[in-house]
């Protein structure tokens, strides 16, 4: 891959004309050079082992923290680097390419920092953002429940007002970064009668009495990614930990998911890139019928389609991140990017196994792992079906 030469910075000059600058800034170049080095030398070599053992990649996370990468989107006054979501996306892509699990742990953090930044009070920001920015604490976002998946409004966890706070009761499942995270954004219902309009978001720290962890889910892939059940039993949360206002929970969730889509999409893109490279390099070396298989048109066409879909995913996601940085509506591109990148990742990884043939099916080669990993990206953060619904809604409203 050409080292970091594919960035789109779309900007509008004051006449409203669209200008396109696809170059990296000097700072981005430096950051990505460092991330590339660390990803290749430290993170990628451990990926197979992490997956095989199903062990939380603590070393990787500590390394990313030591490089200040957790603070990329956080304002300087809270200890971050304030470099924006586009730079964050570029970094997350590379991490995911080296190790999808590490990339998702890194990405899931955004689901915690984003709502804090957008909806948090000054006091909440000052309290929770600095440790998140330094990577000392990991974050998580918990909405999903046994009865609330795509139907996000159907959250059953209750938050009963009591004294100067709320009592939370219920459980959450499949929560990424569960148990390893210190800071959780929990969506609970304050007023069941109001349905989705009764939802609220709470900041709950690990170790709070009444907040415990249950099942650690075993998955098809991403074995080392923590996906944990959260259990709330008469858990008291002080009023200061309510994010924004009661009734805003649904909105907070929807907007957080929109941003999270970029992270999930870029994670899928990373996997697709890794799989594509393996397929491409293998096809050049593998000799059958007296020639390398990369000389056969059937294989060439697969590689061409892989590369094209990857590039298309890339620019949808970069544009979404850029729009977010500009404060412009970004949801359409975020959904498109997530939808396209995740379906691309599934397609590319499946085809990569095909290109490697028998070897592709064997655990000696990573492509079968990429394929198992890719599937999740079509589901989390809003399934592909949900994304299509969102995109349709948006484009139908456009002129």
């Amino acid at each position: 891959m050409t080292k970091g030469k594919e960035i789109a910075i779309f900007y509008y000059n004051f006449l409203g004309e669209e200008k396109m600058d696809f170059e990296l800034t000097e700072e981005q170049r430096m950051i990505l050079e460092l991330v590339d080095e660390v990803s290749e030398k430290e993170i990628a070599p451990l990926a197979d082992e992490i997956a095989a053992k199903g062990e939380f990649p603590r070393k990787n996370i500590e390394k990313l923290a030591s490089l200040d990468l957790f603070g990329l989107t956080i304002p300087k006054k809270y200890g971050g680097l304030e470099m924006g979501y586009l730079t964050w996306t570029l970094v997350a892509e590379r991490i995911s390419r080296a190790c999808a699990t590490t990339g998702l742990i890194f990405g899931a953090n955004l689901l915690c920092t984003f709502p804090l930044l957008k909806f948090g009070s000054e006091e909440q920001k000052e309290r929770f953002l600095p440790p998140l920015a330094q990577g000392r604490s990991l974050g998580a976002f918990a909405l999903t429940e046994p009865e609330a998946g795509s139907d996000a409004g159907n959250v059953q966890t209750t938050a009963r007002k009591e004294g100067d706070g709320y009592i939370l009761n219920g459980n959450k499942i499949f929560i990424t970064n569960g148990e390893v995270a210190d800071i959780y954004i929990i969506i609970a219902n304050v007023d069941r009668k109001r349905g989705a309009r009764g939802l609220a978001a709470f900041i709950v720290e690990k170790g709070t009495e009444g907040f415990s962890f249950g099942q650690h889910f075993k998955k098809m892939g991403l074995e080392a990614l923590p996906n944990v059940e959260l259990i709330f039993k008469d858990c008291f949360v002080p009023r200061e930990n309510l994010l924004d206002r009661e009734g805003r929970g649904f909105r907070i969730a929807m907007e957080t998911f929109a941003a999270g889509r970029i992270g999930v999409g870029i994670g899928a893109l990373g996997i697709a890139e890794a799989a594509f490279r393996k397929a491409r390099d293998y096809s050049k070396e593998r000799v059958q019928f007296g020639r390398s298989i990369s000389s056969f048109q059937a294989v060439q066409h697969i590689l061409a389609d892989m590369a094209t879909k990857i590039e298309a995913s890339r620019y949808l996601l970069y544009k979404a991140a850029w729009l977010l940085d500009q404060g412009k509506p970004f949801e359409k591109y975020a959904s498109m990017g997530k939808l396209y990148a995740s379906e691309t990742a599934m397609w590319v990884t499946t085809k990569a196994v095909q290109v490697l043939g028998g070897y592709g099916y064997m655990k000696d080669y990573p492509v079968e792992r990429y394929m198992r990993e890719a599937k999740l990206f079509e589901i989390i953060e809003g399934t592909s079906e949900i994304q299509r619904g969102i995109i349709a809604n948006i484009v139908l409203k456009e002129k």
């Binding site: 000097e26 700072e27 430096m30 950051i31 460092l34 080095e37 660390v38 390394k63 030591s66 490089l67 200040d68 990468l69 603070g71 990329l72 680097l81």
Partner: protein, 268 residues
């Protein structure tokens, strides 16, 4: 406060050098576009200085003698966390061998100020002479401890563990002193992003001969007692043989060759 000076050198990345070089057929020595890096052992030196700084009150200065592009290496050192950096560069320094280089460095260090400890890597991977460290120590008139894999500073004294061929030596020396370090001493850190971004803005002063005023007969080609008179590519080794056959046949063949060359005489 402990005043530490780290001497580094910018060298070509041999990883890439090999890809371009290793072609005995064409006998060409092309180095165009090869990436430059901080000499790996000097990275260990920077890291060691930073570790001392984490434990004690220290001022870490990083210097390098080289062409203008050596500033990149110094900037990386700043990104890793050294307090300040100086580039020592002048066209008249070009062509310096190890003696002249050590002389220029010694005078630059004297100009920069008092010091307690000088740390440098055991050798540069392009020259491979390992001479500048000891020569610099001599010209500064301070004791040297070479091949250090561990060091501790306490009360103006340094305790160091040296790696010799088949044993380790623990020595103690009073500061000021110079050490050359091996890569066993530590694992150099990556610069943090904050470090990288800060380093971009920092000034790296350049010391030229206008600042140092060094006599012509001690610098550059004239100051170099050794002279390179010719450079050539070594003869490629004779082409070897890939042994064919099944596993048993290959094992058999190897054992035959070893017997033929009398290499099984130490068989236990």
């Amino acid at each position: 406060m402990l005043r530490i000076v780290v001497c580094i050198k910018q060298v070509p990345d041999t990883e890439e050098l090999a890809r371009v070089r290793i072609n005995p057929a064409t006998n060409t020595i092309v180095r165009e576009g090869v990436k430059s890096i901080i000499n790996p052992f000097d990275e260990n030196a920077i890291e060691e200085a930073l570790r001392i700084k984490e434990k004690k009150d220290a001022l870490v200065t990083c210097i390098s003698m080289g062409p203008p592009q050596a500033k990149e290496a110094l900037r990386k050192a700043l990104a890793m966390g050294v307090d300040r950096a100086f580039l020592i560069s002048d066209p008249s320094f070009a062509g310096s061998d190890t003696w002249a280089t050590s002389f220029v460095l010694s005078q630059a260090i004297r100009k920069i100020g008092e010091f307690d400890l000088i740390i440098t890597g055991k050798q540069a991977i392009d020259g491979d002479t390992a001479q500048v460290g000891p020569e610099l120590a001599e010209l500064l008139g301070i004791p040297q401890v070479t091949y250090v894999r561990k060091l501790e500073i306490e009360d103006g004294k340094m305790k160091a563990e040296r790696v010799l061929e088949d044993y380790f030596e623990v020595v103690q020396v009073k500061l000021p002193a110079l050490v050359t370090v091996t890569k066993e001493i530590n694992q150099p850190r990556y610069p943090s992003l904050k470090g990288l971004l800060n380093a971009r803005k920092m000034d790296i002063p350049v010391l030229t001969n206008k600042d140092l005023n060094l006599p012509e007969d001690k610098i550059g080609l004239d100051g170099s007692p050794t002279r390179v008179v010719r450079v050539f590519t070594p003869e490629p080794p004779p082409k070897g043989e890939i042994i064919e056959g099944n596993l048993e046949e290959k094992v058999q063949r190897i054992i035959e060759e070893l017997k033929k060359r009398n290499l099984l005489r130490w068989l236990k």
